[in-house]
Symmetry: C3
Subunit: 354 residues, 3 copies
């Protein structure tokens, strides 16, 4: 577990998370930790009644708790509406992000006709092509690539080998993790049965772009394809996990969460505040409505209404899926039962006939 990187007084901590302090505001704490792992001098959090036992036994000096948590002898409490969020804010306080010094490393490759903000950082081996723009305080790690005429906004981080292909537009405060790919060609072909050299898949030029709005995070090895024409869009504040596939002309709304290894097919629309769990697949040209939730490994083959929770492959309303899953476990018994019933009916029929 991490030790403290600096120390803060409990009063300042309560102020930082806008919480109500039950304890000594002058107490100095120097780190964060889980309820079980925390030592005196550390802060922990308790947001789920399931961990009540650990809360009662913790050696932490202070605990972030919900508004109705019981008091505990010898432990300061900071009451907040959302202990998980407050804990996240404290992690940020105790582990402030370090930004490398601004400037272009001599072993970076910035085209003379690119514009890199003087407060940006371009490290060894990063590449910025002709006509590209890199905003203020943005960091390009080694191997990060910004293609011709692409634009990356302010306060972004492009980790090693993140690729932004030509013409694509990335907003501000965007994080592109290592080996993510923004703007590869969409997977579009027209079958040409009568090509000069025999049948072939004729490549449909993918002349659109990807537009990534502000505050988006794109996971490692996640791929967002450029549009055939127009734009593939990832909306403001949406977060994509690792190894996610976003196909050409998809539109993902703001504030959605797409978990690892999920895939969204061409021209599909994912609304606002949607959650796609891991390994979900969404077919092309459909819409997943605002605030919908899709269970892990589900295959979404039809429009999902706003707010609906769906599961299964093909995906159906979650309640129906639970019912079907339960029934499915009884199937083998059902087969036996029906065979037995058939015999009993045969017997009844015979006796009646006899």
């Amino acid at each position: 577990m991490p030790s403290a990187s600096n120390a803060h007084r409990l009063g300042d901590i309560a102020t930082h998370v806008r919480g109500e302090l039950l304890g000594d505001p002058g107490l100095l704490v120097h780190g964060l930790n889980g309820l079980e792992e925390a030592a005196p001098g550390e802060v922990s959090f308790y947001g789920n009644p399931r961990y009540r036992k650990q809360f009662e036994a913790t050696r932490a000096s202070a605990v972030l708790v919900g508004m109705d948590a019981p008091a505990r002898d010898g432990v300061a409490l900071v009451r907040v509406p959302n202990p998980h969020l407050a804990y996240a804010k404290l992690l940020t306080l105790f582990h402030p992000a370090r930004r490398p010094p601004a400037g272009i490393h001599p072993a970076a490759h910035v085209h003379p006709e690119a514009t890199v903000h003087p407060e940006a950082t371009v490290k060894a081996g990063a590449v910025v092509e002709r006509g590209a723009h890199v905003g203020a305080r943005t960091v390009l790690h080694p191997g990060a690539y910004v293609g011709e005429d692409a634009r990356v906004g302010d306060d972004c981080v492009l980790y090693p080998h993140a690729t932004v292909r030509e013409g694509c537009v990335v907003g501000s405060r965007v994080i592109l993790h290592a080996s993510s790919v923004v703007g590869a060609d969409g997977f579009g072909f027209a079958f040409d049965a009568e090509g000069e050299d025999g049948p072939r898949h004729f490549k449909i030029p993918q002349v659109g772009i990807v537009r990534i709005e502000d505050d988006v995070e794109v996971g490692a090895c996640t791929c967002i394809d450029r549009a055939t024409v127009g734009e593939t869009v990832v909306g403001q504040g949406t977060k994509l996990d690792n190894l996610v596939q976003i196909a050409h002309n998809v539109r993902v709304g703001p504030l959605s969460l797409i978990c690892a290894q999920a895939g969204v097919s061409g021209s599909a629309e994912v609304g606002t505040g949607v959650v796609l769990a891991g390994q979900v697949g969404v077919v092309g040209h459909i819409r997943v409505g605002d605030l919908a939730k899709v269970g892990a490994q589900s295959g979404v083959a039809h429009d999902v209404p706003d707010g609906q929770v769906v599961s299964g492959s093909p995906a159906i309303p979650h309640k129906d899926w639970l019912r079907a899953s339960a029934a499915s476990g009884q199937l083998a018994d059902l087969l036996k039962e029906v065979r037995a019933l058939r015999k009993r009916v045969e017997l009844l029929e015979k006796e009646k006939g006899g």
Copy 2:
């Protein structure tokens, strides 16, 4: 939507797509767009009767249509057998691919014993190792890597961070998208229960190669492993989408389409003109026959005959899968029905006995 990058006369356009023009051959058009988005001066296409309404309302100056489409007042028509293909060809005409100037950038790393064709382009940070060959007009973008003794043919594009490992062979007109990996070691181990330092998975050296034939496209972050011995092969004109896994010793035939996040296990064979939809899995050592189609998220556990359409996990003929899926939705009701029947039979039995 993209504006025109140049302009063409309608007569030339009809000739380019080998279509029959109903309209003024001298009319100048300057771009392409969807039926709904198109403005006067633009060309659109109408290939699916489902979009009839949009066809009737379009403001496009000309529309590519099938051989039997109705005329439309004030709109020129270009009749072709395959409007989608013709549209793709026009996109190529209006947006011709730009090739960067030939030559090796001073910040590229080409081994003195590598051979790079003088018409090839090797950009900053690309690497060509000893004994490797790069063909005419091939472009290596920054971070592209061609390993020892590997061969890349003519007119290829290796996007940033595409990797071709030692000894692998890539044909001509091949596109390797960003962070694709050709020739990583296959996943092969022999369990050694009696290793000197305890049990271990003994690594089976992967001494074969990958051979990619002409006109193949490999998606971003797609991985094609080298053979244990011999070759892993991707056939001529086959297209792989993003995040696809092709294991060691797999053979994919020509003209197949493998969609995003699908995986083919070791030594499996995928025939000619096969379609694997997104997130499909194919187990090892089986054969998916020519022209077979596998539905999204399916798990193929046995040979698939030529031309068969399969779905489900495990995959079964698509018709059976539709029937089973429908039945599965009725399962919970069936359980109730059988319980009710049992009671009715019990009653009949009792009465008979009574």
Copy 3:
């Protein structure tokens, strides 16, 4: 198929694999091949009775066989307990791994405050950041990246564009394949309904690390996220295939095999000697017990006991899954049968009443 890269006497070969030779120890063999492909002068192996026919017809000069295989005229045999393992060892003998010469290429970027062992190899375009350590005989291929204060042990290979982010720890004899990513941020957010600029997903700083123990192999484009706090761990001798996702705070035990495109969610634990087949998903905060096996495409939603074999989504014991799968194929017929029974019962009821 590969030809020999050198030649060995049969007696030495038998000694190398600790086998019992039935044949001429002085016979010179120059390569390895499959039973069907082998020519005179080559060695093959026969471990599975299914290939008896090929064994009887092989032209190989010698064959590695199990302890109870029958003799064959004109073919030398080497009896070993595990022919597959012995074959792997011979592949290593015939194709010894080549290590590039030690030293730091002038176009590599090694920070003056990094420590690179003098016997390590750092190729053009590889990057070692401040405070990082690279051990003896480790090879960093072009584009490999070792972040600040990260440690990579001895005898490792980092293929092109492999990324080890800041602070992560990699043991010895570890292989990181191309474009693998060790230490990207975990996917952790706390929903903040009352952010100053509207609702947002507040990023939880991911301040932990990844620790990879000795003898681990990480496939191409595989992602292992750093812990929120603490460590994400991959245990000694475990092998990860391509495109695998290991989320934050996961602990994978030693000697496990995780096949391509499988994913393990946050804080899950995978035991010792576990096998996850391709495209498996494991939900967060559960445990897959030692020596458990999970079938391809399964979705593990609950703890799996030690040694259990599970399949399906959600995963159930493999035997139950086989039974349910078989029953599922009979479902449509069952529906018909129940409808017929209902009519027969109705008839019986009517007649009784009449």
